[in-house]
């Protein structure tokens, strides 16, 4: 089989897309989920990815206005008509070069070299394919946020963005929690949910700047390392928890701990950068937009293949629209949640 290079990448992407579509009748399962402004259909095989698709999203309300339809084929050679994925050939590879080459052909793509794992998307036709060597060969992070790159490409084409951020709110207003891994985003979100606040996600949320800053839910999975899991009391609250994920973290769903149904949207009133404070009490103080931008944007852009410059501009606009704060986290989950609730209440007064 010919190797893929930057020269034939676009041709290979078109071939993979055509092959996946022409085999549409052979996929064992067709799953559908309603997301903000989007009806997502995935053609899949039974297994972990189908399970993730069934349980990994926060479904948008059924009463919403009609949405565009996006179709993703999760393909592998076990499905009639699907060939073994090609491998990358010799020669230089950069994420940016790969994405740029595809963008020039009107396509989007991502590749995980170790597994010959490909994702291609045609944003004009809203058709994508995730091509794998077999049904159970995919990067370990896929089930936590299923089909994340496709949603990133589709929403980016609409001027929206998947942000790598957590959220907390009350009465429809909320904060966006930005920061590097280990800064305390997920623990803060879980603490807030356990003490009466709302959230639309702790890892990736859909952000729209068309009418102020709004955040909407996409993925339902929350994560906590074993220490945080125990500190938050989740070990006792969630009796049936499965094995740790590939990061050594417990995974569960937002409905497991949310005080009420996940809101359809939060109006974001502040960009907050949490960090482990070391003190007993939490505090919130202003931080420069430059520092907030650097906390928010890098992982949000690097983890989403392609669209780097548009992402940089988007997160820059977002940062300018919001007041920015640093949240020093105390040690008690209830106190942390109370600090954020008080902060939001002050904004209302």
């Amino acid at each position: 089989m010919p190797k893929v290079t930057l020269e034939n990448l676009a041709d290979y992407a078109r071939h993979v897309l055509a092959q996946a579509e022409s085999s549409a009748a052979h996929y064992p399962l067709t799953c559908k989920v309603g997301l903000p402004h989007l009806d997502l259909t995935a053609h899949v095989s039974a297994g972990a990815l189908a399970d993730a698709f069934a349980h990994g999203f926060v479904t948008a309300p059924g009463s919403r206005t009609p949405a565009d339809i996006c179709r993703i084929f999760v393909a592998h050679p076990g499905i009639d008509g699907i060939a073994v994925p090609a491998s990358w050939g010799q020669g230089p590879f950069t994420q940016h070069g790969f994405a740029t080459q595809l963008a020039e052909a009107g396509l989007r793509g991502n590749h995980f070299h170790d597994l010959d794992f490909w994702q291609f998307y045609d944003p004009q036709r809203r058709v994508g394919v995730q091509l794998m060597a077999s049904a159970d060969v995919f990067p370990p992070w896929e089930p936590g946020a299923p089909l994340r790159p496709f949603l990133h490409w589709e929403y980016a084409a609409r001027g929206m963005r998947l942000a790598h951020a957590g959220t907390l709110g009350t009465n429809g207003k909320g904060v966006l929690l930005a920061g590097a891994g280990g800064a305390g985003k997920s623990g803060t979100v879980a603490a807030g949910l356990l003490h009466g606040l709302d959230s639309v996600g702790d890892d990736y949320v859909l952000v729209d700047l068309s009418n102020g800053v709004t955040a909407r839910p996409l993925f339902s999975t929350l994560k906590q390392d074993p220490q945080g899991f125990a500190r938050l009391g989740l070990k006792h609250r969630l009796k049936a928890h499965g094995p740790l994920n590939w990061q050594g973290k417990h995974t569960f769903h937002i409905d497991d701990i949310a005080p009420r149904p996940v809101p359809e949207t939060l109006d974001i009133v502040a960009l907050v950068v949490p960090h482990i404070g070391g003190g007993e009490a939490s505090s919130i103080v202003p931080v420069s937009r430059r520092d907030a931008m650097i906390a928010l944007a890098p992982s949000g852009i690097a983890q989403m293949p392609g669209e780097r410059e548009s992402g940089f501009r988007f997160f820059s606009d977002l940062t300018r629209l919001l007041p920015c704060y640093r949240l020093s986290l105390g040690t008690q989950p209830q106190e942390i949640a109370g600090t954020i609730a008080d902060f939001l209440a002050r904004g209302d007064s």
């Binding site: 940016h96 992070w141 650097i294």
Partner: protein, 143 residues
């Protein structure tokens, strides 16, 4: 002074935005971010728009005048990071009074910090734990 010439942004893959007067630069190719101090932001604006480095020597900041060594070091960093490139046929732009006023209000020394965020990405998504110019990404275990 070694770095006395005219410079331009090194490529179209170097993009930047300003936040309340503080610059953040992204290298689209590597995904690395660069955050500037207030005085560094002023010099980035001046140098990237064609003001010769030699014209900036002696300019006043809120914490003292810029000397040639400080400007040399700063420009060398920007060249090393691949953010600026020397141009031989560039048109020198004059130092504006607005620039001088903004620089005089700066309270931080010349500084540019690099943020490549790899430690974060090792934890959350190891595909990105790579030195991209070297070749393919590979899963690496978080420490």
């Amino acid at each position: 002074m070694r770095q006395s010439g005219i410079y331009a942004i090194a490529s179209k893959d170097i993009v930047f935005e300003s936040f309340d007067g503080e610059a953040v630069v992204l290298d689209l190719t590597t995904g690395k971010y660069f955050g500037f101090s207030d005085s560094g932001s002023r010099l980035w604006d001046a140098l990237s728009s064609g003001v010769p480095a030699s014209e900036l020597v002696g300019a006043a900041t809120g914490i003292g005048a810029l000397d040639a060594a400080a400007i040399d070091g700063f420009v060398s960093q920007l060249l090393e990071f691949g953010l600026l490139a020397a141009v031989t046929d560039g048109v020198a732009r004059p130092v504006s009074s607005e620039f001088l006023a903004q620089l005089a209000a700066a309270r931080e020394p010349l500084k540019v910090d690099i943020h490549d965020d790899l430690a974060d990405l090792i934890v959350v998504d190891p595909i990105h734990e790579v030195e991209e110019p070297l070749g393919w990404p590979a899963v690496k275990q978080a420490n």
